[in-house]
């Protein structure tokens, strides 16, 4: 039994199953929700099996068709990929369950949601496991295109406008990234990450390639000030799609960035470049939070909160230079997991609230003790993780980032983390206080179970992950390009 568990390429199935299901869902729309649920459950199982294999036997690579790099396609299941797969598994399972209740059979949207979402899922998982620049490009394109189609799903003018901007940003980003890949391929004749990591020289060409690829990916991951496309696209999409876009999709280009900076170009990237990304991250945290504080609509508030949270991920670049590398690495990856779960849950709750109240204007939402009040409390539970309150996974992640900032002596970033936490509590509190405001409107009907339980379960998982962060934290470092101990002490 163990032999099978430890040698079977479980991670490959996380790509194949959603891909097959996407085709099936397209051909037999009637059975699409069923295919979606079965896919979701099996992907969750395969992710668990992958985690178990990495836990016992360490990171591993899979040659598709048995061809070695640079000829064949290599899939790498290492710690960073695993955390991404965990996020994708948890978010994907929850959103799939929710979507079966959200889209009805009569709904035209359901016809397209399932094939697109399953394709997106396969592309995401493939991206997380990809080991070369070109595969990363192809999968990233698939992710972006299926996301854009999903964002336009409900066909409203706002959604089409959002999707259009998304498309524009996505195309520009791809172009820039592909240019960088071409430069590298021209100079070194390979796109394999591991091979490149061994051969890349820190010269002008490498720097130019890194800058081009980074710029493209920044646009795709919507780092401040390139975030202009994100709030309209995320806020106008149907809620299950928003949950996927914010919880999962923005992390895809992020992983590529991490792989490039820490595996392929560790010596090319200068401290100045890293600090530039760090400062943009700080800008994102503060600007995104301030904008979230000013929004009048719930979904826009949550979307701007994503802009802010993306900023935290970019603190990795300055913080992971030097002895605090492992601490910052683990912190950021746990934050990706925590943010994925909490943000997806928040968007799903938004969906339920919008469905119940008929709108998502903050001024019109109040509901102590009623149906809305209960939904808002679930939102608050997800917010506990988002803000980083103990004992949630968000707290553990921020604790590690604070530790890294102190060890690295980067007080500037420490202050931003602290300020960002306070601002986040501020915008979350705007929603939370609504849960306690007495409602004047007539009581609303109770939402169906399938729209209530998945987001609640996901936020509970996000909180409890804080108490079970030990193994994920250790696994994050399996095969990671940084090393060292996780919690640093500096006793002279």
């Amino acid at each position: 039994m163990d032999a099978v568990l430890l040698t079977h390429p479980w991670s490959v199935w996380t790509i194949i199953v959603p891909l097959a299901a996407a085709v099936l869902a397209f051909l037999v729309p009637r059975r699409a929700p069923l295919a979606g649920i079965i896919t979701a459950l099996s992907v969750a199982l395969f992710v668990a099996a992958t985690a178990y294999r990495i836990f016992l036997a360490g990171p591993h690579t899979q040659m598709l068709g048995g061809w070695q790099a640079p000829l064949g396609i290599t899939l790498r299941a290492d710690g960073p990929a695993l955390i991404m797969l965990l996020t994708s598994g948890l978010v994907g399972l929850t959103v799939s369950l929710y979507a079966t209740g959200y889209f009805t059979a009569a709904d035209r949207q359901q016809r397209y949601f399932w094939p697109l979402w399953l394709l997106l899922w396969a592309a995401c998982n493939a991206l997380f496991l990809s080991g070369d620049l070109f595969n990363l490009y192809v999968t990233l394109e698939l992710v972006t295109l299926s996301s854009i189609a999903l964002a336009a799903l409900n066909g409203s003018p706002a959604a089409l406008d959002g999707a259009m901007r998304y498309l524009l940003a996505g195309l520009l980003g791809s172009l820039s990234y592909l240019l960088g890949v071409a430069l590298i391929y021209g100079a070194y004749g390979t796109v394999d990450l591991t091979l490149l990591g061994q051969t890349v020289r820190a010269d002008g060409l490498s720097r130019a390639a890194l800058a081009l690829m980074t710029a493209g990916l920044l646009l795709k991951t919507a780092l401040f000030p390139l975030h202009f496309w994100l709030p309209p696209a995320h806020a106008s999409a149907p809620p299950p799609v928003s949950a996927l876009l914010s919880g999962l999709v923005v992390k895809a280009p992020l992983l590529i960035l991490f792989r490039l900076w820490f595996e392929v170009f560790p010596d090319t990237a200068t401290a100045g470049m890293a600090h530039l990304l760090g400062i943009l991250g700080c800008g994102a945290i503060i600007w995104g939070s301030l904008m979230a504080l000013r929004q009048q609509r719930l979904k826009l508030l949550v979307a701007y909160s994503t802009v802010a949270q993306i900023g935290y991920f970019f603190l990795l670049f300055p913080l992971a230079r030097g002895e605090a590398a492992a601490t910052a690495w683990v912190g950021v990856f746990l934050l990706v997991l925590a943010h994925g779960c909490s943000k997806a849950s928040m968007f799903l709750v938004c969906g339920t609230i919008t469905r119940l109240a008929g709108h998502d204007r903050l001024a019109g939402l109040a509901g102590a003790g009623g149906t809305l009040g209960a939904r808002l409390l679930v939102f608050a539970l997800a917010a506990v993780t988002l803000v980083g309150m103990p004992p949630s996974s968000g707290f553990i992640a921020k604790w590690l980032l604070i530790n890294a900032a102190i060890v690295a002596g980067q007080w500037w970033y420490l202050a931003t983390i602290a300020l960002g936490t306070l601002l986040a509590s501020g915008y979350v509190l705007r929603v939370l206080s609504l849960a306690f405001t007495e409602s004047q409107s007539p009581p609303l009907p109770v939402a169906p179970r399938i729209l209530r339980w998945p987001p609640l379960a996901l936020s509970v998982v996000a909180v409890l992950l804080g108490l079970a962060a030990f193994h994920p934290a250790v696994l994050t470092l399996a095969g990671a390009p940084v090393s060292g101990i996780i919690l640093l002490e500096m006793v002279p």
């Binding site: 530790n403 306690f436 007495e438 804080g466 919690l487 002490e489 002279p492």
Partner: protein, 499 residues
Amino acid sequence: MSWREALPVLIVLSSLIPGLIIFTLPEERQRLRTALNLGGALVKLSLVAVLFPFVYLGQSFVFRLPLLPGMDLVLHADALSLLFIVLSAFLWLVTTLYAIGYLEGSPHRSRFFGFFSLCVSSTTGIALAGDLISFVIFYEMLTISTYPLVVHRGTPEALRAGRIYLAYTLSGGILLLVGTAWLRVIAGDLAFVATGILSALDPSLHPSLMVIFLLLILGLGVKAALVPLHGWLPLAMVAPAPVSALLHAVAVVKAGAFGIMRVVYDVYGIEFAASLGLLQPLALIAAMTVIYGSVRTLFQDDLKRRLAYSTVSQVSYIALGIDVAGPLATIGGLVHLVHQGMMKITLFFCAGNLAETLGIHKISEMNGVGRRLPWTMAAFTIGALGMIGLPPLAGFISKWYLVLGGLEAEQNWVIVVLMLSTLLNAAYFLPIIYRIWFGAPPQSWPRDRVRADGRETSLLLLLPPLATGLLVIMLGLLAAAPFSPLQWVQIITIREYIP
């Protein structure tokens, strides 16, 4: 997991699990909700009773859950945690009874009691936390779980108080978190050990340790309502009376005071902290808070606001006792944690009864109310006299040891502060007592609820203040009896001072 590991966890879970179940209950399941509440409170008290003899004998109960490599969530029971946990477990039981009576028929009770239980679980966690990081975790959980209680009424005023409460406590929480992380970086494991853990560190780190101390005290001082960080406390008065009672007697302000104890005694170590010169400034701030709080109290006509400012003043007795740095002052400070809790909860229960039974919120409306509510007002009088420090009530014992401590440490200004504060206490409580018993009652009360059975108010509202009022007398009279809080505090003090 052995039973020794399980016991601290079970003590936390005994209020957490009923709380989580209560959240899911529909509003009308009143019997089940009451059963869960009281069952949890009784289970908690009995588990604590099991713990008691073992801790007395100096045996340890430790539970560890690894959070990260090199960082555990630690629950452990030592003499100091037991002091706090007995207080919180007992007052939870009393306050739950009171709250059931107080909130009868009002909306959102499932939500209320759910968060109430979470709040008590966090307090228990604070008491049992075995290192500074675990303490911070529960301390922040307390912040989140009390917010819904403060804004429970949902009025704009309540929501505003809640916003200000969170603005203060979350900012403080961040400072505490940063201070803790920084200390973790330079000192490693932050387990609470009597006599402290930092004195062995390299002297070149002492400046950092002083800055960290400031961060930690700023974070803890917000909840302990040290001036000028006290602004949230008088506003939080909009909460229902049982919440105010719990907030002032054991949950929030005491969590801050308890945290200061842990930091001074068990992280820095009292002698090391004194040698760094950290205690003198803190003692001055505490003294200032004592006087400032008392002076502000004088001018409040709203009864709950007067009690709130009185808390600002009284809780700083604890900080004062810690910072005077001598065994006797320590005894006075630590025992005041229990004594103040008992007296203040009595006063808040009585204030709640006045509001609930007669619609009285202001002191100017209290003329002759002793004739209408003789039992309630008897309890109030005992609590108030105890606050003034009249022998043989509980407050006298605390003040006596604080004065002795000031003499012992040759810090005579402490005695002046205490005398001044006592005068002020008398000045703001005696007029109320005079009004209650000797004022001429008005023609009618603002909103009199005369009961058919002729009792002054329902038993659920009457018995809790009577019980705690009785304890205020007993804690003073029987202070020398074995296992009284005073005796227990002496055991703690010996362990803190003798390595």
